[in-house]
């Protein structure tokens, strides 16, 4: 018989279930992810540092874990919440069970709770702080702990996940045409693999690397990676990016996109509960097409802060082709992508300097490959800058 476990939220709501994974206690912001596949990639995505992740899909663990699907050196979630953990796994690539994996990294999990009820609660009340415990079963004590926990706003979680020294990423024998320096704010390996596929050799550098050090490496392009937490929690990254704007082609993903926007002088804000899943529709304003995207973010860029004139989207409305223009101290920009579920900014690019970014995950993993072209776009950008 498994031990009991409890998930307690700061607003007093509690859920009782059974423990799986490591026995212990975890603190974090409780969020939900709607992907039906890809739990290993989700667990090992450093962007989830500081968060307790709930999977809406009920059966988790069905296909075990394997050595190929890591998105970083290990899981970064604080805790894991599922409806039913699958004790038994079945897949030709599986090497071990999910529970053994979680155990070996000390990740606390809870199962057998009404994850749909929890999801609805977060949807209506917003993502909130929570404590997951299989050692303290006193709900009042847990709620207190949740209230007292630090939360995400303004915190630098990047420093906990970033690499400690620069290193080269070189997995395949593919021909390398470009040298990219990638800031590791919590970078996912599939970004590195995707860059390699379009012919890049990558030097991965710690988040706190200074602009001068980066330029000294003489890169063809700079990648600002995804990462955990509030972009306002990493002012040093914003400052460094500001110094690099215009000097080298820059491509930002997720947190990188937010950092780019902030470096351009814009602002970010916290979403009610974020976007986390692999089915979100993003409209490419430049082509009119829609991409199904993988997303994992709790903050978004405020288009007004980039002086984009009031543009809005409503379901069924036909949007004319063309980016939404805005102004920054680094010249004109345009919003290139928006989320069709709620109209939030999903992508932007600078028109006077070589820099662009997207809020979502073109490298997917987990998720659809509709947006892979963005890596080719980066390659083309670097090509143009080299020639020019």
């Amino acid at each position: 018989m498994r031990e009991k476990a409890i998930l307690a939220l700061e607003d007093g709501t509690t859920y009782e279930g059974t423990a799986f994974g490591a026995i212990g206690e975890a603190v974090g912001e409780v969020v939900f992810n709607t992907s039906m596949t890809g739990y290993q990639e989700v667990l090992t995505d450093p962007s989830y540092a500081g968060q307790i992740v709930t999977m809406t899909y009920p059966h988790i663990g069905n296909y075990g874990v394997n050595s190929e699907d890591y998105e970083s050196r290990g899981p970064f979630v604080e805790g894991f919440v599922v409806r039913e953990y699958s004790r038994i796994y079945s897949n030709w690539r599986a090497e071990d069970s999910l529970e053994n994996f979680l155990n070996s990294y000390g990740i606390v999990g809870i199962q057998n709770i009404d994850t749909r009820a929890l999801t609805k609660h977060i949807r209506s009340e917003g993502a909130m702080k929570g404590v997951l415990s299989s050692v303290d079963l006193d709900t009042q004590s847990l709620v207190e702990k949740a209230k007292a926990s630090p939360g995400l706003i303004g915190r630098d979680l990047v420093k906990n996940v970033t690499t400690d020294k620069p290193h080269i990423w070189w997995e395949t024998k593919r021909v390398k045409h470009f040298h990219v320096v990638a800031f590791d704010f919590g970078i996912k390996r599939n970004i590195l693999r995707s860059l390699e596929t379009v012919g890049c050799k990558i030097t991965v550098v710690p988040a706190s690397t200074k602009a001068e050090e980066v330029l000294a490496l003489n890169p063809d392009g700079i990648l600002l990676s995804n990462g955990p937490g509030d972009p306002a929690g990493v002012p040093y990254a914003i400052e460094t990016t500001g110094k690099l704007l215009g000097k080298k082609p820059i491509f930002g993903i997720c947190l990188g996109h937010q950092i780019l926007a902030l470096a351009l002088g814009g602002r970010t804000y916290k979403l009610k509960f974020g976007h986390r899943g692999g089915n979100q529709p993003v409209k490419n304003l430049l082509t009119g097409g829609v991409e199904i995207t993988a997303q994992n973010h709790g903050f978004a860029v405020d288009q007004n802060s980039l002086k984009v004139s009031e543009r809005e989207w409503r379901v069924g409305k036909t949007i004319p082709i063309g980016g939404w223009k805005g102004e920054t101290e680094f010249g004109s920009i345009e919003i290139t992508h928006i989320n069709l579920n709620d109209g939030t900014v999903e992508g932007l690019r600078c028109l006077d300097i070589p820099a662009y970014s997207v809020q979502y995950h073109p490298e997917a993993s987990p998720g659809p490959h509709d947006s892979r072209y963005l890596f080719e776009q980066f390659m083309k950008l670097m090509e143009e800058e080299n020639i020019g």
Binding site: M36, Y57, I88, R93, T119, N279, P281, I292, G316, L340
Partner: protein, 1090 residues
């Protein structure tokens, strides 16, 4: 971009009669499309020969043609209506093939009709195996190794490269027809020959067997701007080698990592682009090697399908509706998601539950058929269930099937044959799932079961977990059963019946204990987005979780119980009635609740009623729902036998049953009670008796005299009914009949040979009885009414007899206190009227009668059941029709070539068509055309009749000769005809040698067969003749009455011109009246405001 404005009128082709492989799902899809296109301002022309569909109700299209779906007939419709576009993707393979024929023959071009939804080259690329193969290699996708053959000799050469076992796939056929798996040369020869013949382009694909590989299906949509979305990934529980329609399937996929799933997704998108589907949906099937992950593409269907209906119900994403919009130019991001309203349809649904679909077979109707499941589909329907886990969904699905099982075993109804375990695991049949569970519970390991069955171990482990809980429960009795274990059992999908069985108690006691312990189900929403957004469409399922999502309502509620999965005897016709009840009650101001577990039907479209509960139709589930919703009343009389079984227990539990009381229904079914009542009323009935043992049966039989109709009580579709002509036959029957219904006695009735059978459908409001329709059977009495061809109005009975029938109907309706529908079957023999059967509920002829007369009987009945009077509803009985409407059935014998086509008292048909026209001949010819066995206008007719019919056949043969036909007969019939001066050529009987009549049939030398049998079953001559006709698609008439009808039809065919007319034109006044009918509340409002 906004939709096209250059198209104003769209022609939609329906899928015709229900057949194995193509059933109600197309009514669901077609109805959705008609609705959405009409709403958008298009004029919709619809052609569908099936009157039992909601889509052919006159309000769904502007012009509705209930006519045969053939290129010639459609051409006439095009000529008359002049549509701008043709949408062929909603009518299954039938619709698609008809559209292709019209395109290729130049008709579409001639009349300026554009093919939308799927262009011709797209259809050919997808369906023509050769083109598909080339297209796939262009995009670098692997297919199983294969080659094409256009002749048997070519095929024999090809198979040498591929090796056995080998799969044969004919191009452009439906549901795997004509295909199969061959393990040796002999099987190979047979299947290839059949396949070549059935493929309209004489093409078969000889393919490497990927039997045992994992099978996946993706439902995909793509629009004009190249936006592509995957609506639903489906994993087949049963591996490759079993048709997806015959497999247990699960959504979403359970055993793929994200990387592997994305591989499928990428492939699906590439396929959509390469084939060129740009305004609609498709179903794409893949096979994945379980040990290497190698991915191959199996096939693609560039249209809505059974799977897309399942995917729509599983996710809440209405594929057909959106496909229709895409076809007229909208893009996915311009269409709102119906369920969330604020987000677009351009996304991929994500679900937070598990859906299980299990097919429904009716092999018990075809005991000679090969019950092994292969690549050729054999199921007639399916049930779907939703649960938070696979275990819960699987057990719910099993009890949704209505095979008298209450979950995965442990219900006291296990029928395992120990010696067959290994075989049953390796060779799939309909009960394999129970053998899997049994094997695991007996200690067989998951690996061993996997080796035999090739079902992914993950599913097997899930079943093992169910077994472990079952074993745990059996340790206790109900009193000692721990609360936690009871809760876990419910979460694993165990029903109260199973728990009662395992703890040695009763269903009621378990329910009590559960309630006392606070273990009751919650209801959750299907919302396409796993709760990420607010959902507005109330589509619910039950599960044992913490939070329930039912919203309070403002209006009084009425719950309608559906008819469950399709099967022979209970299909779309009952669903039609349930849907009509929902429509009518909504207009009457009620909040309508629909309860059903059939993913193929219009009743489970969330648009049909105000609330939809996708739940099994068992007592436990019914009580859960009525307990949560507390409806004012429930309607049980529209879903066939299924909800009726719940009548007495629901009434006992305090639920208000609307309409005719359960006691009246019981009275009509109880032969003793009913027999006594008829005697009291002085109504004639065939002499009858009941018996519970062979001795008793013999005694009763001797009293009544042979021939006898024998059957078990209280069933539908005449299951296990038979006509016995002697004591030996009676003994044989009783030995096998005991299995059918052990608690109930068997009934014996005098069988009235050569009588005329009449069916009547009527509505009563408790005071007035409205006779909706009187129809005459064109086949003799004794053949199940569901299998007979019928005609409205009746033609061979006198006005006086009609009056007698009406009077008798009214009397019976009154005496039974009918409020709602009543169906009565009569026979007239020797001038005497007999009552055969009274059913105070909806019958399967209601849709046909409604279409024939223009009167929506089911809607009237529903209104009467909530207190409206027929007088105030204003309809007049309509018996003087200026047209003739004939219902003809379709039989599934092509699917079961081993089975004798002779119709008997057990119902065998899967669906029906209607032929409607001014005259009988034309109507009959249309009905035959619609049923796929068109009458010939010239050629050779084979006649061979039993002795009793030899006199009557002379006149018929003479007429045929006059019409220009040549007659061929076997000895006995030939002699009689020659003696009467009819020119006839003699041919050998099957047992007389070769060449015989079967050879002639196989050589295509016979155009029509008239063969009335004596005795039936394999090894009789008639068996061989009739099976040949069903394999070769030749019309086969088995009664004299049918032959007479055929002659009139042939005459019409010879004259040539078949005219088409919209159903709205046949029923102008009725249609106007229906649209003007005001609801009771609207009338009240008006009164109050005055």
């Amino acid at each position: 971009m906004p939709r096209r404005t250059d198209i104003k009128k769209i022609l939609i082709i329906g899928s015709g009669p229900i057949i194995i492989g193509q059933a109600c799902e197309f009514d669901y899809s077609g109805t959705q499309a008609c609705k959405v296109l009409k709403q958008d301002g298009f004029k919709v022309i619809l052609v569908n020969s099936n009157p039992a569909t909601i889509m052919t109700d006159p309000e769904f299209a502007d012009r509705t043609y209930i006519e045969p779906i053939t290129p010639e007939v459609i051409e006439k419709i095009i000529e008359k209506e002049k549509p701008d576009a043709l949408l062929p993707t909603l009518g299954g393979q039938t619709g698609l093939n008809a559209a292709v024929a019209l395109a290729e023959s130049g008709v579409l071009h001639r009349f300026g009709v554009e093919l939308i939804g799927a262009k011709l080259q797209v259809i050919k690329k997808a369906e023509g195996r050769n083109l598909f193969k080339k297209a796939m290699s262009r995009i670098g996708l692997d297919l199983p190794r294969s080659s094409f053959a256009y002749s048997l000799s070519e095929a024999l050469r090809n198979v040498e490269d591929v090796g056995f076992p080998v799969v044969i796939r004919p191009s452009f056929t439906l549901g795997g027809t004509g295909g199969g798996i061959a393990y040796n040369l002999e099987e190979f020869r047979n299947i290839v020959s059949t396949g070549l013949m059935l493929s309209p382009i004489n093409e078969v694909l000889i393919e490497e067997s990927v039997i045992g590989w994992k099978e996946y299906e993706l439902e995909v949509m793509r629009d004009l701007k190249d936006n592509v979305v995957i609506v639903c990934p489906i994993e087949n529980f049963d591996p490759m080698g079993i048709h997806t329609g015959d497999s247990i399937t699960v959504a979403p996929a359970q055993t793929l990592t994200d990387k592997e799933y994305q591989q499928l997704r990428d492939a699906a998108i590439a396929i959509m682009r390469e084939i060129g589907v740009e305004t609609g949906g498709s179903n794409i099937q893949f096979a994945v090697h379980p040990e290497t992950g190698r991915l191959v593409v199996i096939e693609m269907n560039p249209r809505v399908s059974r799977s897309s209906a399942l995917a729509s119900k599983a996710t809440g994403f209405p594929i057909a509706k959106i496909a229709a919009k895409l076809a007229v130019g909208y893009t996915l991001d311009e269409i709102p998601n119906d369920i969330t309203k604020e987000t677009p349809a351009c996304f991929e649904p994500t679900i937070d539950y598990v859906v299980v679909k299990i097919p429904r077979w009716t092999f018990e109707k075809f005991p000679e058929a090969d019950a092994r499941l292969t690549t050729k589909m054999k199921s007639v329907g399916e049930a779907m269930s939703i649960g938070r886990t696979f275990k819960e969904a699987l057990q719910k699905a099993i009890r949704s099937l209505e095979i008298d099982r209450y979950g995965l075993g442990a219900d006291g109804r296990e029928e395992i044959i120990e010696e067959q375990v290994h075989q049953k695991l390796a060779v799939p049949t309909q009960d394999r799932i129970f053998y899997i569970k049994y094997a695991l519970s007996m200690g067989m390991s998951v690996e061993e079961v996997y080796e035999l069955a090739k079902i992914d171990p993950w599913f097997l482990y899930q079943i093992q977990e169910i077994v472990l809980v079952e074993q745990e429960i059996s340790k206790y009795n109900l009193k000692t059963l721990p609360k936690e274990l009871l809760k876990q059992a419910k979460r694993y999908g165990f029903s109260d019946v199973q728990i009662a069985y395992l703890t040695g108690s009763t269903e009621e006691a378990v329910r009590e204990k559960r309630k006392d312990s606070g273990i009751t189900p919650t209801f959750k929403l299907v919302d396409t987005c796993a709760a990420e957004f607010e959902a507005y469409t109330p589509y619910y399922y039950s599960t044992y979780e913490v939070e329930s999502e039912i919203r309070p309502s403002t209006k009084p509620k009425i719950a309608i119980f559906g008819s469950g999965p399709n099967r022979i005897g209970q299909g779309i016709e009952f669903d039609y009635c349930c849907v009509h009840a929902a429509f009518a009650l909504k207009e009457e101001g009620f909040e309508t609740i629909m309860i059903n577990c059939n993913p193929e039907t219009v009743s489970t479209d969330y648009d049909t009623s105000d609330r939809l509960y996708f739940e099994p139709l068992t007592l436990e589930d019914a009580l859960n729902i009525v307990g949560a919703e507390k409806p004012k009343g429930v309607i049980l009389q529209f879903g066939g036998q299924t909800p009726l079984k719940l009548a007495v227990p629901l009434e006992k539990a305090g639920v208000k049953i609307l309409g005719t009381s359960p006691d009246s229904i019981d009275l009509a079914e109880d032969r003793k009670r009913f027999g006594a009542l008829l005697r009291k009323l002085g109504v004639n009935q065939p002499p009858h008796g009941t018996a519970t043992s062979f001795k008793e049966a013999l005694k009763v039989a001797r009293g009544i005299g042979y021939p006898l109709l024998v059957r078990p009580s209280y069933v539908l579709g005449g299951r296990a009914m038979e006509i016995v002509y002697s004591e030996e036959m009676l003994e044989g029957y009783i030995a096998s009949a005991v299995k059918a219904s052990p608690e109930h006695p068997i009934l014996l009735d005098k069988f009235l040979e050569d009588a005329v059978e009449i069916d009547v459908d009527a509505v009563s409001d408790g005071e007035t009885i409205f006779i909706g329709g009187i129809m005459e059977h064109i086949e003799e009495a004794g053949i199940h009414s569901g299998d007979s061809a019928c005609v409205i109005p009746p033609l061979s009975i006198t006005d006086q007899q009609i009056e007698e029938i009406k009077e008798c109907t009214r009397t019976l309706a009154r005496v039974l206190n009918v409020v709602g529908l009543i169906n009565i079957q009569y026979a007239i023999k020797g001038g005497t009227l007999y009552v055969l059967e009274v059913n105070p509920r909806a019958s399967r002829t209601v849709p046909y009668v409604s279409k024939a007369t223009g009167i929506p009987l089911a809607k009237l009945a529903a209104r009467a059941m909530v207190g409206r009077t027929l007088k105030e509803l204003g309809y007049e009985e309509r018996h003087e029709l200026k047209h003739i409407a004939i219902k003809e059935v379709v039989l599934p014998f092509g699917r079961f070539p081993e089975v004798d086509t002779v119709l008997g008292p057990e119902m065998k048909s899967t669906g029906e068509v209607m032929g409607i026209d001014q005259g009988f001949g034309q109507a009959f010819a249309k009905a035959q055309m619609g049923a796929g066995v068109p009458l010939p206008a010239k050629g050779t007719i084979f006649i061979s009749v039993r002795n009793r019919d030899k006199k009557a056949i002379v006149h018929i043969a003479k007429k045929l000769v006059e019409l220009g036909f040549e007659i061929v007969s076997t000895k006995g019939t030939a002699e009689v005809l020659t003696q009467s001066g009819v020119k006839v050529k003699e041919v050998l009987k099957v047992r007389e040698g070769r060449p015989n009549v079967v050879d002639l049939i196989k050589n295509g030398e016979i155009d029509l067969v008239i063969n009335t049998p004596w005795g039936k079953g394999p090894r009789t001559d008639g068996y061989y003749i009739r099976t040949a006709t069903s394999a070769y698609g030749i019309p086969c008439i088995t009664t004299i009455a049918g032959a007479s009808a055929a002659i009139k039809g042939i005459e019409a065919m010879i004259v040539g011109d078949i005219a088409v007319k919209a159903i709205q034109d046949y029923h102008i006044e009725e249609f106007l009246l229906e649209t003007k009918t005001e609801s009771a509340s609207a009338v009240e409002e008006k009164k109050c405001s005055k």
